[in-house]
C-alpha cells in the first residue's frame, strides 16, 4: 500500500512539475510575442499580423489560466509542499497576473490604437525590451526557486535592474511627449500606454520582493 502510494506520489508530483514548467514557458513565450506585436504596431499599426499576435497572447493566457487552476488544485488535493504551498500559489497567481496584463495590453492596442510620434519609437521599443526582459528574468527566478533557490537572488537582482531601466525610459518618454506639440488628449493617451507598459515591469518587481522572502523561508 505504502509503496504504491509512494510511487503515485512521485508520479503526480512529476506531472505537477511539468505543469509548473509549462506555465512558466507560457509567460516567457507571451513576452516574446508581445515584443514582436509592439514592433509590428509601431511599424504598421493594427494590422492582421498584430491582431494575430494579440490573439496568440490571449490563447496563451487562457492556457496559463487552466494550468494555474490545475497547479492550485494539485497542490491542495495532494497536500504537497505544505510549508511553501501558500507561497507557491501566490507566486503562480502573481505571474498569471502579468500574463493577464500582457493580454489586456495587446487588446487595448487593438481597440484604442494610440499614435506614437515616430521620434519616440526607439524609446518605446527600448521600454518594451526592458519590460519583457524583467518579466523574462522573473520567470527564470521563479524556475530557479523550484530547482536551485540559491541562484534566485541573481535573477531577482536583474529584474530590479530592468525595472529601473524601464522607469527611466518611461520618464524620458513622458517628458518628450509633454514637451512636444501634440494635443493634450494625445499626450495623455500616449502616456497612459507608456504607463501601462511600464506597469508590467513594476509587477515583475513586486513579485521579486515576495520571491526574496520565499527564498529566505525556503532556506530555513
Amino acid at each position: 500500500m505504502n509503496l504504491s502510494k509512494g510511487l503515485s506520489m512521485f508520479y503526480s508530483s512529476r506531472a505537477l512539475e511539468n505543469k509548473i514548467d509549462e506555465f512558466l514557458d507560457r509567460i516567457s513565450e507571451a513576452g516574446l510575442i508581445y515584443k514582436k506585436a509592439i514592433h509590428v504596431f509601431l511599424e504598421h499599426g493594427v494590422t492582421e499580423d498584430f491582431v494575430t499576435h494579440a490573439d496568440q497572447i490571449g490563447h496563451i493566457e487562457s492556457r496559463a489560466d487552466e494550468l494555474r487552476r490545475e497547479i492550485e488544485t494539485g497542490l491542495y488535493e495532494q497536500n504537497l509542499i505544505p510549508d511553501l504551498r501558500a507561497d507557491v500559489l501566490s507566486l503562480v497567481e502573481d505571474l498569471d497576473a502579468i500574463l493577464n496584463a500582457y493580454d489586456a495590453s495587446g487588446y487595448r492596442f487593438t481597440i484604442e490604437q494610440p499614435v506614437f510620434p515616430a521620434t519616440l519609437h526607439p524609446d518605446v521599443l527600448a521600454i518594451v525590451e526592458s519590460v519583457t526582459n524583467s518579466v523574462e528574468q522573473i520567470t527564470i527566478a521563479a524556475r530557479t526557486f523550484f530547482r536551485d533557490f540559491n541562484s534566485c537572488r541573481d535573477y531577482i537582482h536583474k529584474v530590479r535592474f530592468y525595472e529601473s531601466e524601464a522607469d527611466r525610459i518611461s520618464t524620458k518618454i513622458k517628458r518628450a511627449v509633454y514637451s512636444s506639440d501634440l494635443p493634450l488628449a494625445n499626450k495623455m493617451h500616449v502616456c497612459s500606454f507608456v504607463e501601462m507598459i511600464d506597469n508590467l515591469a513594476d509587477m515583475a518587481e513586486d513579485i521579486t520582493d515576495k520571491l526574496a522572502i520565499y527564498v529566505i523561508k525556503r532556506d530555513n
Binding site: 505504502n2 506520489m9 508530483s13
Partner: protein, 509 residues
C-alpha cells in the same frame, strides 16, 4: 487463572496504550506537525508496523522481560506496570513526551522501596545521564546531518515538488521502520511479564500457527495502536511544533538523527559487528528515543542560528517532566503496592531470604571478598536485600553496585528442584535438544542457591559456562543469562509446590 489473568493483563495493556500515545510522537511527531504526513496516515502506518514488529520480531524477546522481569510476583508486576502507565498517561495529558522505560524503572524503584530490595544505583545514574547525554548527542547528530544534507541537496538541484515527495516517502519509511522497532523491542517490556497469566491458548488458522505468546503480543500491540490513534496527537504537537517551527526537511533530519543516535549508541549488534571486524568500538551509552527527538530539534534550531526561535520554556517543561517521571512512578507504585497488599490482599512480592551459610561464605571468599571480616556473619539469615547488604557493608565498607549485586546473587536462598514435569514445560525454541538433554541429567536434584544449579549445569557441558566478559562474548553471555533465568524460574519451589516436592524424593545437594 482466566479472569484474574485478564485483570492482571489490563495494566500491561494500559502501559501498551501509553507507549503508543507517547512513542508515536517520537516517530511521526515532526512529520505530522509539518503536515507532510496526515495524522491518519501516520497512525495507520505506525499501528500496522508496531503490530508486525511485535508479532514477528517481538516474540523472540519474550524472555527478555526487561527491568520488569525483576519483580517476582504477578500482583507486584500488575501494580508496577500500572504505576508506570499512569505516570506516562499523566505526562501525555500535559502534552509532555517522556521515556516509558524510565517510568518503568521508576516504578520498579518504588517496588524495591516497598519490598526492601536493593536498588541498583547504576540504574538511577543511567537515567540521570540520559537526560543530559542523549539530547546532546542527538543535537550534535542533527546539526551535522542538517548541514551535510543541506549541502548535498543544494548541489543536486532537485525540483521542490520532487524533494517534497522524497522527504514525504523518507518520513513514512523511517517512521515505519521506527514503528517496527518499537513493536519488536518494547512489546516484551510491556506485556512480557504477563506471559504466564495470559488467557490465551495456541491455535492454527489457514495453515498459520499462532502461539499464546504471539496472541498476547498481538493484543499488546493492538493496545499500543489504540494509544497511537486516540492520544498521540497532542504529544506530536509538542515535539513537532511546540519546541520550534520546523521545515519538512528539518523534520526528517530530526527523525533520522534520532534513529541514528539509537542505532550508533544503543545497538549491541553494531558493537558486535565492529568488534568482530577489529574496528574501533563506539561505547554504548543509555539513550531514549524521546530525549533524542527533543535534543535533535534543539540541535537543528541552534545549527540554523535560530536558537531564539526555540521555546525554551517548553524545553524546560519537558526536562522537568523527564526528571519527575521516575519520581512520580516510584511514588505511585509504592502507595499502590500498599493498597494492593493490604486492601485487596494480593501478594505483591515473594519475600527473599539471604543466608551466609558455609557454602555461601566460601563462594564469597572465592569471588575475592575479605574472609576475615565476613566470618562474623556466618550462619546469619536476612529477610531482605537491604538488611543483608547493610550488614555486609558494616564489615567490608561501601560496596559498588556490581559488588552488591554479586553478593545478593550468591547469598539469595532459593529452593530449586529439577522436576521432570517442569523440564517438559521449557520452551524448545529457546533450548536446543542437547541443552534439554543436559538439563534432564539433573532430574531429581535440589539446590538452595541459583549458582549451585548453574554450577551443576556447567558440569554437564561447557556451553553453560559464561565466557570472559568481552564485547564479542556479550551476546553469548546475555543469551546464557536469559536461559539460566528461565530455568531457575521454572524450577523454583513455591510454597504451594513444597508438599509435592517433598513427596517426589528429590536429592538435595
Amino acid at each position: 487463572m482466566g479472569t484474574s489473568g485478564i485483570v492482571f493483563l489490563s495494566s500491561g495493556l494500559f502501559l501498551g496504550w501509553s507507549l503508543g500515545a507517547n512513542d508515536a510522537a517520537n516517530i511521526f511527531g515532526t512529520a505530522v506537525s509539518t503536515r507532510m504526513v496526515k495524522f491518519k496516515t501516520a497512525a495507520v502506518v505506525c499501528s500496522i508496523f508496531i503490530m508486525l514488529g511485535a508479532v514477528i520480531s517481538g516474540v523472540g524477546a519474550a524472555y527478555t522481560l526487561g527491568s520488569l522481569g525483576a519483580i517476582n510476583a504477578i500482583g507486584g508486576a500488575f501494580v508496577t506496570t500500572f504505576a508506570a502507565a499512569f505516570t506516562v498517561y499523566s505526562m501525555i495529558k500535559c502534552g509532555l513526551p517522556v521515556s516509558v522505560s524510565q517510568a518503568v524503572v521508576g516504578a520498579i524503584i518504588g517496588w524495591n522501596w516497598f519490598t526492601d530490595s536493593v536498588t541498583d544505583v547504576n540504574s538511577i545514574v543511567r537515567i540521570a545521564s540520559t537526560w543530559v547525554a542523549c539530547p546532546l548527542l542527538a543535537a550534535t547528530f542533527a546539526a551535522v546531518l542538517y548541514i551535510v544534507f543541506k549541502k548535498l541537496l543544494g548541489s543536486v538541484k532537485i525540483h521542490l515538488l520532487r524533494r517534497d515527495a522524497c522527504t514525504r516517502l523518507a518520513m513514512i519509511l523511517t517512521g515505519a521502520f521506527g514503528a517496527y522497532s518499537l513493536g519488536a523491542n518494547n512489546m516484551a517490556n510491556v506485556v512480557g511479564v504477563f506471559v504466564p497469566v495470559a488467557p490465551f491458548s495456541e491455535f492454527s488458522f489457514g495453515g498459520l500457527h499462532f502461539s499464546a505468546v504471539q496472541q498476547l503480543f498481538f493484543v499488546g500491540s493492538v493496545a499500543t495502536a489504540v494509544g497511537v490513534f486516540t492520544y498521540s496527537y497532542k504529544v506530536m504537537g509538542t515535539v513537532g511544533k511546540g519546541l520550534m517551527p520546523l521545515s519538512p526537511f528539518a523534520a526528517w533530519v530530526v527523525v533520522l538523527a534520532q534513529s541514528m543516535v539509537l542505532f550508533v549508541f544503543a545497538s549491541e549488534g553494531l558493537e558486535y559487528f565492529l568488534a568482530s571486524h577489529n574496528l574501533p568500538v563506539i561505547p554504548l551509552v543509555p539513550v531514549s528515543s524521546t530525549q533524542a527527538v527533543v535534543g535533535a530539534v534543539i540541535g537543528i534550531g541552534v545549527c540554523k542560528g535560530a536558537a531564539k526561535n526555540i521555546k525554551w520554556s517548553v524545553v524546560l517543561r519537558i526536562m522537568c517532566g523527564w526528571v519527575i517521571t521516575p519520581v512520580i512512578a516510584a511514588g505511585i507504585c509504592f502507595f499502590s503496592l500498599f493498597f494492593m497488599q493490604n486492601v485487596f490482599n494480593q501478594q505483591v512480592y515473594v519475600p527473599k531470604n539471604y543466608t551466609i551459610s558455609e557454602k555461601v561464605f566460601n563462594r564469597i571468599v572465592d569471588q575475592g571478598f575479605s574472609a576475615g571480616k565476613l566470618s562474623t556473619l556466618k550462619g546469619e539469615k536476612f529477610g531482605s536485600g537491604i538488611e543483608f547488604i547493610r550488614a555486609v557493608e558494616r564489615r567490608l565498607g561501601k560496596l559498588t553496585g556490581a559488588q552488591q549485586q554479586k553478593m545478593l546473587d550468591i547469598a539469595e536462598n532459593v529452593r530449586l528442584s529439577v522436576d521432570a514435569d517442569k523440564i517438559e514445560t521449557l520452551d524448545n525454541r529457546l533450548f536446543s535438544a542437547d541443552e534439554l538433554a543436559q538439563i534432564k541429567e539433573l532430574t531429581g536434584q535440589r539446590f538452595n542457591y541459583r549458582w549451585e544449579l548453574q554450577a551443576a549445569l556447567a558440569k554437564t557441558g561447557t556451553n553453560w559456562e559464561y565466557r570472559p566478559a568481552t564485547i564479542l562474548n556479550k551476546q553469548y553471555n546475555k543469551m546464557l543469562s536469559q536461559k539460566l533465568t528461565v530455568i531457575e524460574n521454572a524450577f523454583i519451589v513455591r510454597a504451594t509446590d513444597k508438599k509435592r516436592t517433598s513427596a517426589c524424593g528429590c536429592t538435595e545437594r
